[in-house]
Symmetry: C2
Subunit: 564 residues, 2 copies
């Protein structure tokens, strides 16, 4: 194939960004080439993005993949309307061989070219951030600004971070080396060696409903940048953002002279459930998955032919010991509980508060006061329906609503969930967070079965757990992380000793810790290039976004040695 | 604990070697601080080493581990004599908690101190290389010089390489970082972040019979250097080299102020088979294993709570297409087949030779001539019993002898195995390599069952497989690597096209390739810091020695962030 877009041109336009990304993952300083502000994309971008999204609705989404045998798709926006988009349904016995056939040229291209092509894909996605934001919003239920930031800019950051790690890892071993071993008085042994990164095989990305791009891009770009074709299997309710991604990737691959089948889409028919069959096919050598613990565990146990990277459920905890900024703590926690209706894998679920209360800059506050003041802070934050909608988004699916309603029966309600009417989308199901009181002393295994707050209750539900002491809070934190996993842990304390003790639990149980957040950084947000998302060391996830372990086993290095 | 040996002192003596090792894994140039020549260890070293080894025989090997509940051990040298060494038998319910208790201090020591302590352990082992050589010789059956090189110097190299990778990986993320995110006209968000490598838990090393130190040190030192305690479970026939290793490690840990229980030994009673129970205990979070495919597969399927690194069986192939140095090729292959009686995971098993013969610098040679000349080269190499013994060592156990005898019935014998009398150890079972002719055209799955050469026949057995063409050889090579795995692939050719074609198969099937070896480098030898041992990408092994993937998942990085 002749490339319309040469590697040289790509290097001119993209290499500097790659170098900045490589620098950022080493320094962990702030970096992002993808703006979070909607206005940063040009004056016409909002209208253009909306128009592009609207133009997709009610159409067939052409991809020109080999082996398409029909059309499928039934997405309905959590904001109400059916999207009406149909996607090609793949005959995997035709598609997978086409993907495999694309591998040798992509391997031969080498790590730098692969990275540059990936950066070009990300740059084109970035240019269409507004369109993607609408697609994310109307599949995940995220509010528009969040969809633009988390589903657009931040997802692109995480994709770029994965490309940087993949490039860095593949180039740590030189492409070629001379080797000369002294032999005393005899001539040295001289060998010429080459080292070639080789892909494992086809990578399968199993997308999720809530963050199709943010949780999908790291695996997609890590696999592609290391030479593997990627088959994208979106969540049936969140196809469009990943279908758009696949389309852009295929365009860029074709323009740069590569086989577009290096990235392909597999949308399932209703009830078809293709992930289980796909996951154990011999062609599939890498799997990235975000979703339920049950299916994540199934993948880890059964997809033995593949490297499996999973992000599953966890129970996130905040230890409240004391604070020098009571108001800041309440505001920060209220925001964290409310953002996207608590439908983030990083949202705090259990707030561990000493039964005897806490010391604060506003005086000693009893357990009931802390819980009441937090409820008040949430109420204040979400008092206006329009503002509340912009923060809460919509419940992503009816399961979340059912879970929320059932949770109100689990204990004394400290803050009832209320219905919010989104002025723009009156059909959206919007609910404010529920806070339920719970008793930490009952967390032991006393034969009474497990307490409800030790199971993940995904959605706008949190538990204000009364504990006998901060020490008991740390014991409960440790047990929760060890047994249930956690993507995030937070703590508020003015005591250096407590701070060290919380750190120690997090070191021992491998959990990511945020301390004393009272301003504009929230426990449920992590920034690519600087923050690790998950640790890969507790049951919530077997990998972290993004580190060397996330990329190093997606390729292997083949050495060829010959006498020099 | 007060350290007799300070970290500062360790840095003075060991940091330079660490830096050289770090440089070597990046350049892949020749490097070794561990001499291969027996005389390099000082004039008295041979006698001292032998005396130290002899002093161990017929004694109880004290280790002062907690929870020892008896004594066990029944090693018999493949050279004849019983060693008579007894080792403490561990009560794991006492030992494992003691090992876990040692973790926090070791984690807090940090990556550099851990690396320096590991280097001190290796340096002390290096100083006792002659003693270790006798221990390796009399458990593995390796000849003395090989035991000193492969079991001593080269094993120490592989251990150091693992330490270098582990240190490099843990320090790629800075210990601390500032983060400042611009907020337009508002003040930037400022965070202070720390990144701490944390261990996974107790690592289990399941040792092998043939290369207890060479195959054991990479996992042992990779786990220890990343903060994990290591429980060493040696092969019951090859305990002594690893028991000595554990003793040295415990001494150095104690002297440097750490808990010696960071490294411990678990020797099983006859028939006890503790590996299966140990492997699935929740405390065990990492497993390194070298041995049979059956148990390796079992570990991968069942030890789900652990990161499992396995080196299993494979079928190594040499493609013989043509050569510009016929005599060199024959000599090199003869040596490769003979070294340690073919009891290396890297020894070639199948020699694929065109039925119509090959072009060489000595004229065209028919298949029969090539096979006959190779048989002649082996005969010549091993004509003298003393010299043969120094190359062949002894058969490691009766299974190898039985397999060798059965293999003579598998086809026309091109070179019969003969019995060699080791003049020093007349009880040693020593046999020269067997070469059996086979027909590559019968390798297809024609319902007649699998041909014998497609199963690993561990020991001094190889097959001269007649193929219709080099193209057919490449097909058979591909199928062998894909289905059976391979630690090594070799090829002889004067054709650039054939060379490319073999490389392509190795790239696609992830196999390490040696081309046209006719001198003093052999396909079955890999050099630490430069050569990868295995690829981790075909069924012979799920990891390579040593790369980032081998170390990156033995620890996790915990981030703690707080407002700046």
């Amino acid at each position: 194939m002749t490339a319309q877009l040469s590697v040289q041109k790509l290097a001119e336009t993209r290499r500097a960004t790659l170098d900045q990304a490589l620098d950022a993952i080493r320094t962990r300083a702030y970096f992002s080439p993808h703006p979070e502000h909607p206005k940063a994309y040009g004056e016409s971008a909002p209208a253009d993005g909306l128009a592009a999204f609207q133009a997709l609705r009610g159409t067939r989404f052409e991809l020109d993949q080999p082996g398409s045998d029909g059309w499928t798709g039934a997405e309905t926006s959590p904001y109400g309307p059916a999207l009406g988009v149909e996607y090609p349904h793949a005959d995997l016995d035709a598609l997978l061989p086409a993907m495999r056939a694309a591998m040798p040229d992509w391997r031969r291209a080498g790590a730098e070219t692969r990275a540059l092509v990936c950066l070009e894909i990300l740059a084109r996605i970035s240019a269409r951030t507004h369109e993607f934001a609408h697609a994310v919003m109307h599949t995940s239920g995220q509010a528009f600004v969040m969809a633009l930031q988390a589903g657009g800019a931040n997802a692109q950051d995480r994709g770029l971070e994965a490309v940087a790690y993949a490039y860095d890892e593949q180039t740590r071993t030189p492409a070629r080396a001379g080797w000369s071993k002294p032999q005393g008085k005899r001539e040295p042994l001289e060998m010429d060696k080459t080292f070639t990164p080789v892909p494992r095989g086809i990578a399968l990305l199993v997308g999720c409903n809530t963050f199709p791009t943010w949780n999908g891009y790291p695996g997609l770009f890590a696999s592609l940048a290391t030479g593997n074709p990627v088959l994208v299997k979106p969540h049936p309710r969140a196809v469009l953002p990943l279908a758009l991604t696949v389309r852009v990737a295929r365009e860029v691959l074709a323009e740069t002279g590569f086989d577009p089948n290096l990235v392909a889409l597999a949308v399932e028919r209703p009830g078809e459930g293709i992930a289980k069959d796909l996951a154990v096919r011999p062609e599939i050598r890498i799997i990235d998955y975000t979703g339920s613990t049950a299916f994540g565990d199934w993948l880890e146990a059964n997809a033995r032919q593949a490297q499996v990277y999973t992000e599953k459920a966890g129970v996130n905890t905040i230890v409240v010991d004391s604070t020098a900024d009571y108001r800041g703590m309440l505001g920060n926690l209220a925001f964290s509980l409310s953002l996207y209706s608590g439908q983030m894998c990083t949202t705090p679920q259990n707030l561990l508060i000493p039964r005897d209360g806490i010391d604060t800059d506003a005086g000693h506050k009893s357990y009931d006061e802390v819980v009441g003041d937090l409820a008040g802070a949430v109420d204040k934050l979400l008092g206006d329906d329009a503002r509340a909608s912009a923060l809460l988004g919509a419940l992503v699916n009816p399961d979340v609503k059912a879970r929320l309603e059932a949770a109100a029966e689990l204990g004394e309600v400290a803050l009832a969930s209320r219905e919010v009417i989104n002025p723009e989308y009156p059909d959206a199901v919007v609910r404010t967070p529920l806070i339920v009181k719970a008793d930490g002393a009952r967390s032991g295994r006393d034969g009474a079965g497990e307490v409800p707050y030790l199971a993940e209750c995904f959605g706008p539900v949190s538990f204000a757990v009364a504990v006998d002491s901060t020490r008991d809070a740390l014991d409960l934190l440790r047990r929760t992380v060890r047994e249930k996993g956690a993507m995030t842990v937070g703590a508020y304390t003015t005591s250096a000793d407590v701070e060290s003790a919380v750190e120690e639990v997090c070191f021992e149980e491998s959990a990511q810790l945020s301390l004393n957040l009272t301003g504009g950084v929230f426990v449920n947000q992590t920034a690519a290039f600087s923050d690790f998302h998950g640790s890969g060391g507790n049951p919530a996830a077997n990998a972290a976004l993004c580190d060397a372990a996330f990329v190093a086993n997606r390729f292997r290095t083949v050495e060829v040695r010959r006498p020099a």
